[in-house]
C-alpha cells in the first residue's frame, strides 16, 4: 500500500512540475523522463537480475530506428511507430540474449559491448538508409498530438510513457517474475535447484529490459525529431548504467533520481566549464568507490528497508 502511495505520489509530483516549470525546464524534464524509461529498463536487467550489460545502446537504437525508419520510408504515423520501436527493442534484446546469456560476468559485458558495437557499425555501413552519423530528421513533435503545441505534446507523451514504465516496473518487481529475477542475481545455482531455468529467466528479463529501452529510444527519436547512429555508441550503454548506479540499482525510483541528478549535474556544470565528460567519469569512479548502492539504495539500506 505505502508503495503505491509513494509511487503514485511521485507521478503526481512529476506531473505538477511538468505543468508549472518554465518552458526550458519543462522541455528538459520531458527529455529526462524519456531517458528515465531507458534507465528503468536498464535497471530491470542490471539492478534486479544482475545482468551488467554494456550493450543497451543497441536496444535503445533499435527503438530509435524501429520508429524512425517506418516513419521516414513507409509514412507510418508517429504513435504506431512508437509501438514499432518498442517491439524492435524487445526483439533485439531477445536475439542478443539468446547468444550473450550463454556467458556470464565479464564475458557477458564484453559480448553485449561487441554486439552493440557491431550494431553501431552496421548503422554506419548502411549510411544511405540510416543517415549514419548525420542521421535522419523526423517530423516535428507538433504533429504528434493534434491540437497541442510541440512542447505540450512532448510533455504529455513523455509523461504518459514514464508513468506507464514506472508502474509497469513496480508491478514487475513485486511479481513472482520479479522475485525470480532477484533470485538469479543473488544465487543462480540455488535458483536452478528450485526448478528455475536461469537462461529462460534471464532471457525474459533482458527482453523486458529491451522493451523499455526500445520504447525510450522510439520516444526520444519521435519527440525530439532526430534519429542517428550516435544513439548506438557505447556512450548510450554507459549512461543508463551511470544513472542507475547513481540513483540506486535495484530500486524502482532510483532511475528517476539518478537520471535527473546526473542530467542537472552536467547541465549546471556545463554553464561553468565545457569539461562535461569529466563529470561523467568522476561520477562513475566516485560512485563505484564510495557509494556502489547509489542514492536510493543507501537510503533503503539505512532507513526505508521496505522500498521495492
Amino acid at each position: 500500500m505505502r508503495n503505491w502511495i509513494l509511487h503514485l505520489g511521485t507521478l503526481a509530483l512529476v506531473a505538477v512540475l511538468l505543468v508549472t516549470l518554465p518552458p526550458y525546464h519543462a522541455t528538459n524534464l520531458a527529455r529526462i523522463l524519456v531517458l528515465v524509461v531507458f534507465a528503468i529498463g536498464y535497471n530491470l536487467a542490471f539492478g534486479y537480475t544482475g545482468l551488467l550489460s554494456l550493450g543497451h545502446a543497441l536496444f535503445f537504437a533499435a527503438g530509435v530506428y524501429g520508429a524512425a525508419l517506418p516513419v521516414t520510408y513507409l509514412g507510418l504515423p508517429q504513435l504506431p511507430a512508437l509501438i514499432a520501436g518498442l517491439a524492435a527493442g524487445g526483439v533485439m534484446a531477445a536475439l542478443v540474449g539468446l547468444l550473450a546469456l550463454r556467458t556470464a560476468g565479464v564475458s557477458f559485458m564484453i559480448v553485449t559491448l561487441m554486439f552493440a558495437q557491431a550494431g553501431y557499425l552496421t548503422l554506419l555501413y548502411f549510411n544511405p538508409v540510416t543517415g549514419g552519423d548525420e542521421g535522419l530528421v523526423l517530423p516535428d513533435a507538433a504533429t504528434l498530438l493534434p491540437g497541442l503545441s510541440a512542447d505540450a505534446a512532448r510533455a504529455t507523451i513523455a509523461f504518459a510513457l514514464f508513468a506507464t514504465a514506472l508502474i509497469a516496473a513496480l508491478v514487475i518487481v513485486q511479481s513472482r517474475l520479479g522475485r525470480t529475477m532477484v533470485a538469479m542475481r543473488e544465487n543462480e545455482e540455488r535458483s536452478r535447484m528450485l526448478g528455475y531455468n536461469p537462461f529462460a529467466v534471464k532471457l525474459a528479463a533482458l527482453a523486458l529490459s529491451g522493451l523499455f529501452s526500445g520504447a525510450a529510444g522510439a520516444a526520444y527519436a519521435l519527440l525530439f525529431g532526430y534519429a542517428g547512429a550516435s544513439f548506438a555508441t557505447i556512450q548510450y550503454s554507459i549512461l543508463p548504467m551511470l544513472w542507475v548506479l547513481m540513483g540506486g540499482a535495484g530500486t524502482v525510483l532510483g532511475p528517476l533520481i539518478g537520471t535527473a541528478a546526473m542530467f542537472y549535474l552536467v547541465d549546471i556544470a556545463g554553464s561553468y566549464t565545457t569539461a562535461t565528460l569529466l563529470f561523467v567519469g568522476v561520477a562513475l569512479v566516485l560512485l563505484i568507490l564510495f557509494a556502489p548502492k547509489g542514492i536510493l539504495g543507501t537510503i533503503r539500506e539505512r532507513w526505508l528497508t521496505w522500498l521495492p
Binding site: 564484453i110 565528460l277 569529466l278 567519469g281 568507490l289
Partner: protein, 293 residues
C-alpha cells in the same frame, strides 16, 4: 599497378597495424591475465601516449629524430606512471572486483579523454617521423619508417617475453597470475606487482601509440579503435594467454588491414566485432588459446 604489388602494399600496411596492435593487445592481455582486470581505459593510455608524444616533440624541438627518441623514451614512462597512480587510487580500493573495475575504468576513460580535450584540444596534430626516406621497390616506394615500426615493435615484444621469462620481476608476475593467495603467502608484495603490471600494460600501449603517431595524427578520441581491436585480439587469442594474443594480433591485424584495404573498414570492423562475440559465446578459451597449462 597490378594485383600482386597491390596485395603486397596491402600486406605491408597491415603488418604495421598488426605490429602496433600486438603491443597494445599484449598490454591489455597482461593486465587481464595477471590482475583479472578488463581495462576499458586501455585505449586512453594509447591516446595519452600519442598526445604526450606530441607535447614532448614540440617542447624538445631540435632535429626530428632526436625529439622523437626523447618522446619514445619519456611518453611511455609518463603513461605508465599515470597508470600506476590510477591503480593505487582506484582499482586497488575496489579490491580488483571484476565488474566494479570495469565500471571504474570506464570512468577513467572519460576522465582521460576530457583531460586530453582540455589540455590538448579537439584538433588532430602530427608528429614528425624521425627519418623520412622511402625504400624504392620495383612497383612503388614505401616508407622506411613504417618498416622500422614493425622491427621496433618486434624488438619490444621480444623484450617483454625475455622480461617475463628470464627476470625475477617477470617470474613474480607470472607467479601472481597463477595464484594470488599463494604468491602473497610467499611474501610477494601483490600490490606492487599489480601496480607494476598495470603500468607495464599501459606503457606498452603508449609505445605503440608513439610509434604510430608519425603515421596517424594524435587526437583525443584516437583510443577508441585500438581499444576495440585490442579487445578483439585478446579475446580471439584466449583471455590471458600471451602467445595466443600475439598470434591473434598478427591474424587480426592482417585480416583487418586486408579487408579494410579491399572492401570497407566498417565492414572489417563489423565482422571482427561479431567474431569476438561469437568466440566468447562458443569458444571462450579463444581461437588460439586452446593450449592451457
Amino acid at each position: 599497378m597490378g594485383f600482386g604489388p597491390f596485395l603486397l602494399l596491402a600486406l605491408m600496411e597491415s603488418a604495421v597495424t598488426a605490429a602496433t596492435l600486438a603491443l597494445t593487445a599484449v598490454g591489455l592481455s597482461l593486465v587481464f591475465g595477471v590482475m583479472r582486470v578488463v581495462n576499458v581505459a586501455h585505449g586512453e593510455f594509447f591516446m595519452l601516449g600519442a598526445v604526450s608524444a606530441w607535447f614532448i616533440t614540440t617542447w624538445v624541438g631540435g632535429p626530428a629524430w632526436f625529439s622523437f627518441l626523447v618522446a619514445l623514451a619519456v611518453a611511455p614512462l609518463f603513461v605508465a606512471a599515470l597508470a600506476a597512480l590510477a591503480d593505487r587510487i582506484v582499482l586497488k580500493r575496489l579490491d580488483y572486483e571484476p565488474e566494479a573495475t570495469i565500471v571504474a575504468t570506464i570512468g577513467l576513460m572519460y576522465i582521460f579523454q576530457q583531460a586530453a580535450l582540455s589540455f590538448y584540444g579537439p584538433q588532430a596534430m602530427p608528429v614528425e617521423p624521425p627519418f623520412n626516406f622511402r625504400i624504392q621497390l620495383p612497383w612503388f616506394g614505401y616508407s622506411a619508417y613504417k618498416l622500422s615500426v614493425i622491427a621496433f615493435a618486434t624488438l619490444v615484444l621480444i623484450g617483454v617475453w625475455l622480461f617475463l621469462t628470464r627476470t625475477r620481476a617477470g617470474l613474480v608476475m607470472r607467479a601472481t597470475q597463477v595464484d594470488r593467495e599463494t604468491a602473497q603467502a610467499f611474501g610477494i608484495d601483490v600490490d606492487r606487482v599489480y601496480a607494476g603490471v598495470f603500468a607495464l600494460g599501459a606503457g606498452l600501449a603508449a609505445i605503440a601509440a608513439v610509434l604510430i603517431v608519425p603515421i596517424q595524427q594524435a587526437h583525443y578520441l584516437m583510443g577508441h579503435d585500438p581499444l576495440l581491436l585490442a579487445f578483439i585480439t585478446v579475446i580471439v587469442g584466449g583471455l590471458g594467454s600471451l602467445r595466443g594474443t600475439i598470434v591473434a594480433a598478427i591474424f587480426i591485424g592482417l585480416s583487418d588491414g586486408l579487408i579494410a584495404f579491399f572492401w570497407s573498414p566498417t565492414l572489417a570492423k563489423i565482422i571482427a566485432t561479431l567474431l569476438v562475440a561469437l568466440v566468447l559465446v562458443f569458444r571462450p578459451q579463444g581461437l588460439f588459446g586452446a593450449r592451457q597449462q
